[in-house]
């Protein structure tokens, strides 16, 4: 898994609540068997008109947000489906950090598995960052996971909280499967005990 240490670049504002995963990456991108090119589909219906031409008003179609590295979003971001295409498409576009008052649970786990950092801040603080992001002259931000800080264009810093486990996984790019496979003996012992008690679960 990709590590997450520091990230800097333009932060794009998306001042909407309950942005669902269908908005992040719609269904027509889910039937492929590759992750390649999903960045083109990110926020598809907001970004393109019916003729597949860019909508000039949408934030990611404007400078400097075409190169956005960070997204500032409204509450309950990425609610809905379990599609891991949502973090994949953000990552493929170049956005590896999202800041919001809250995130949906499945998306939250999917991001950690893909080395994307989600930062939860109080709504008032998110609103402040949203206003800065909305100004092309002030939208540059730098995230430092080790220090748990967001440095703003004027040099001020905002600190954030993160669970120790998630921070450790992201900083080191840890692969959960590798780690769990080393616990094969414990899993085997669990299975032996369960099989004795509930044999019908083993077919």
């Amino acid at each position: 898994m990709k590590k997450f240490t520091t990230l800097s670049g333009p932060a794009a504002p998306l001042p909407m609540i309950n942005v669902d995963t269908d908005q992040i990456i719609p269904k027509q991108y889910l039937s492929a068997i590759t992750r390649a090119g999903l960045g083109k589909g990110l926020f598809h219906d907001f970004r393109y008109d019916m003729e597949d031409k860019e909508k000039p008003d949408f934030v990611l179609n404007r400078e400097p947000y075409r190169n956005a590295k960070i997204l500032i979003a409204g509450d309950n971001f990425a609610c809905g489906s379990s599609r891991e295409h949502a973090p994949w498409s953000l990552d493929d576009f170049g956005i590896r950090c999202v800041i919001a008052p809250g995130f949906a649970d499945i998306f939250f786990n999917n991001c950690t598995k893909n080395g994307l950092l989600l930062i939860v801040l109080e709504e008032a603080k998110v609103n402040e960052l949203m206003a800065l992001a909305d100004n092309p002259q002030a939208c540059e931000m730098a995230v430092d996971l080790e220090a748990q800080t967001i440095t703003l264009a004027d040099g001020a810093t905002v600190t954030f909280e993160i669970e120790a486990s998630r921070k450790h996984r992201l900083l080191n790019g840890l692969d959960d499967i590798e780690i769990t496979l080393q616990k094969g003996a414990e899993i085997g012992a669990f299975e032996a005990k369960q099989k004795a008690a509930l044999p019908w679960l083993y077919r």
């Binding site: 001042p15 909407m16 609540i17 309950n18 669902d20 269908d22 908005q23 719609p26 269904k27 027509q28 889910l30 039937s31 492929a32 068997i33 992750r35 219906d45 019916m50 409204g74 509450d75 309950n76 609610c79 809905g80 489906s81 379990s82 599609r83 891991e84 973090p87 809250g102 949906a104 649970d105 499945i106 786990n109 999917n110 598995k113 893909n114 669970e163 120790a164 486990s165 450790h168 959960d176 499967i177 780690i179 769990t180 496979l181 616990k183 094969g184 414990e186 899993i187 669990f190 299975e191 369960q194 008690a197 509930l198 044999p199 019908w200 679960l201 083993y202 077919r203």
Partner: protein, 469 residues
Amino acid sequence: MSTRKTLFDKIWESHVVAENDDGTSLLYIDMHLTHEVTSWPGFESMRNNDRPVRRPDAVLAVPDHVIPTTNRGERIEDDQARVQFETLVKNCADFNVPLIPLMDERQGIVHIIGPEQGATQPGITLVCGDSHTATHGAFGCLAFGIGSSEVEHVLSTQTLVQKRPKNMRVSVDGDLPLGVTGKDMILAIIGAIGTAGGTGHVIEYVGSAIRALSMEGRMTVCNMTIEGGARAGLIAADETTFAYVKGRPMAPKDGDWDAALDYWRSLPSDPGAAYDKEVSLDAEAIAPQVTWGTSPEDVAPIDGRVPDPAAAADDKQKNAIQQALDYMDLKANQPIADIKIDRAFIGSCTNGRIEDMRAAAEVAKGRTLAAGVSAMVVPGSGLVKAQAEAEGLDKILVAAGFEWRDPGCSMCIAMNGDMLQPGERCASTSNRNFRGRQGRDGRTHLVSPAMAVAAAIEGHFVDVRELAS
């Protein structure tokens, strides 16, 4: 710490393989359902890393999302969809994973076939790379949706690394009025708690109105738990549950059945067990529900009105309502019953079971679709379809002007070619009214099967209870 435990506590604690230093748990997974859309990355990675599936006997695969609902048996025309479907078949063969083939009568939506085959049982942990895995909690098991990385983790290790969620209890007491269903109940619950109301929690549904529901109704309620933000919903298993499970192909048999019953009866929440969050609803106050916006929390009773953004509590809500009304092409304060529809869709993992087919046929019987309305009924599985046909429900629906299709996810997610055209408005029994979900610029109103059929007959939303009289 209290020794009185919730149903969730008991299932969680009996599945912890190891507690990690960082506060997460390694949780054992008893059953893993899978389908074509979210499983290929896991199989691909396992092939590259030369890792086997740890317990093929604890996996059940079925194609459902991209499958056409007409001309079953012919080559799937869409190239991407066909390749994704064929990849699932090949992966299951290569990794020795049981697969229900497309042309098998048991094929259907993964959340319909799990219960039908008896793979879904009380007390187990069950996952699937699909958010509507919450459905299975209707059997008193801990069932939740996962992403593709977690699918691979389960295939490789039969476990997941999880942070323990909190307990939430939603109580619904009293009798649901005649003509009001589990779908109306869950829409009313989501309207009350909001689409993030259950985030970080597992919801246990309790109360006399929940107990009175059939398994089909309970599955509808648990299915949409994710629309209230909680990954899992639970209803304690009881005699209704046991009667449904008994005799199914993967259910415990003979001596195992009695041992299983003893175990299952030990699982319901202890009296006085503590919950982190509690919500109560009065079943008798619930009317048939219709969503008006682009989030499942945007819901109103059939005798209600579209909200007025000007009356919103704050600017954030005001903007959200205005954006929804613009997308849905509705006016503030418009009566719900005045909204005209173009299409109706009856099906999905929310409402594609036999009880839903019966409810649809009951309303359609002797009536015909309104001029200009087209409608399709998509049974949730081949077994549901066969049962409905044995009861003659298909003939009633076809006579009323409905299309009778082959099973699959169909227009709930619109990946298989069944979709709305831009601007079309649909009464849908599915679970999400998100923008573009059923087709770009399509407008979705979530309702029960009876309400969808009633709207298709009248051409606009109508209280099905008035139609019946």
